[in-house]
């Protein structure tokens, strides 16, 4: 398990700045938003929590196809499935590796980038917390989507179409936590729901993903 995690992290880093890339993408999206919607700070700061969450979602999305596709294409997945490792554990490890390389850096810098969008200061903490609690769900759901589209060459667009709708509850609760944090309202309910989604997906989705993987390798 450990070996797999280490290997995945190593590969992500050697493929050219595993950590940096997700960050750079996130940054670019955050910069593009004012360029698209105009520079008025009052509008920007109103949409800031949502935009930050959407940026994180997209950064996550764009790195999903690396989770299994590389291993599938070079035959590693066949060998992993026939190895002594339980497939569910393989899947959780891969989701974890994805989370570490993609989401974790985002959680750390999101409050920094929030400055660019004029997010009110009392929102920083809750933004970070919401991302921290919600992003594992993004990786786990994404892993499921990646497993579904395994057999398809460059199925990036299909993957997005499958995964983004599944991201909706996470997005809503996540943005809501950040928004309520800014408004000074009670964040407890959406926060618990967010954590609930992360735990729920961690408990259930790996089984679905492993079934899907086996079907795809058949």
């Amino acid at each position: 398990m450990n070996a797999l995690l280490v290997r995945d992290l190593k590969l992500a880093i050697r493929a050219g700045g595993g950590f940096g890339l997700a960050l750079a993408f996130f940054l670019i999206v955050i910069v593009l938003v004012p360029l698209g919607v105009g520079p008025e700070m009052d509008i920007l700061s109103k949409i800031a929590p949502g935009v930050l969450w959407l940026g994180a979602l997209l950064a996550c999305l764009l790195s999903l196809d690396r989770i299994f596709a590389l291993d599938y294409e070079d035959g590693t997945l066949d060998l992993l499935v026939t190895s002594p490792l339980p497939l569910e554990a393989v899947i959780i490890t891969k989701a974890l590796a994805h989370w570490i390389t993609t989401s974790l850096p985002l959680v750390v810098v999101a409050p920094l980038l929030a400055v660019l969008l004029g997010l009110p200061a009392n929102g920083y903490l809750w933004l970070a917390i919401s991302l921290l609690l919600g992003s594992p769900a993004l990786s786990l759901i994404g892993t499921f989507g990646a497993a579904l589209t395994l057999g398809l060459k460059r199925g990036g667009l299909l993957l997005s179409v499958l995964v983004l709708p599944l991201y909706i509850p996470t997005l809503i609760f996540g943005a809501e936590v950040a928004q309520r944090g800014i408004d000074g309202a009670a964040v407890q309910t959406p926060l618990l729901l967010l954590a609930g989604i992360s735990f729920g997906t961690a408990a259930v989705l790996p089984f679905a993903s492993s079934a899907v993987l086996r079907i795809n390798l058949r």
């Binding site: 499958l162 909706i168 079934a211 079907i215």
Partner: protein, 242 residues
């Protein structure tokens, strides 16, 4: 004789060919009665004027859009558990019909919304979760279209349907949480105070029955053509074997 016997594709083809004309006939008749009655023989609503008549398309299609997904869910479960091909193909056939229903509901709703709310669209929870359902349909269809091997596609779409259902319910809840509504609450429950008046209610029931029957007919038709497609594939596999 067990009901499962009709899960055999060949038997299903035979039985459905007998049922299909009835479903068509009854469906068209009900819909015709419902629409004609509703459009021409009911008074205008005191608040909404004649626009209220959109209800005869809007409500049945919205109902069927949701129920079609539910049917797909059940069919997917049956396929995964009992491996009846008919079940998987029925789910596949229901999806485009469901999408069409969703679109009808969206479009009629938007047309209704323009005079009633002064806008084609608002991000009301009911509307939003309906749009989200549409997205789930799109994903489901895209997965069917993307995968070559039919059995693999059946398996994967079934799993997606189940996982998707859970997330659709979650989304529904989340959306409620996210915005307050403008849209009508449930008004068909029989014991409610604010039920639509009887004059509107009876033709509506006909129209709903018509939609249900037509849905049934369309799914039967779709399933039949999917089965025939697989049959042709099997035959050509046999013929083209090298």
């Amino acid at each position: 004789m067990s009901l499962w016997e009709y899960a055999n594709p060949v038997k299903f083809l035979r039985l459905s060919s007998k049922v299909l004309p009835w479903a068509w006939g009854l469906g068209v008749a009900c819909l015709f009665i419902g629409l004609v009655w509703g459009f021409f023989f009911t008074p205008d609503d005191y608040r909404m004027g004649s626009t209220v008549k959109i209800i005869y398309l809007h409500v049945p299609s919205a109902l069927m859009a949701i129920n079609a997904w539910f049917m797909m869910l059940v069919a997917s479960l049956i396929w995964l558990i009992r491996r009846h091909h008919v079940s998987a193909l029925a789910a596949k056939a229901a999806a485009p019909v469901g999408v069409a229903m969703t679109l009808i509901a969206l479009v009629t709703g938007a047309i209704w919304g323009q005079p009633m709310w002064g806008t084609w669209w608002v991000w009301d929870p009911r509307l939003t979760s309906f749009l989200i359902l549409f997205l789930f349909y799109l994903g489901y269809l895209a997965l069917w279209a993307g995968i070559g091997n039919p059995d693999t596609a059946a398996d994967l779409t079934s799993i997606l349907c189940i996982v998707g259902s859970v997330f659709a319910v979650l989304s529904r809840y989340a959306v409620n949480f996210w915005s307050q509504g403008l849209h009508q609450g449930a008004s068909l429950s029989l014991d409610k105070e604010e039920n639509v008046a009887d004059v509107f209610y009876q033709p509506l029931l006909f129209s709903i029955a018509g939609f249900v029957l037509l849905f049934f007919a369309l799914v039967l038709l779709g399933t039949r053509s999917e089965i025939q497609f697989r049959r042709a594939r099997a035959l050509s596999l046999r013929g083209n074997a090298q």
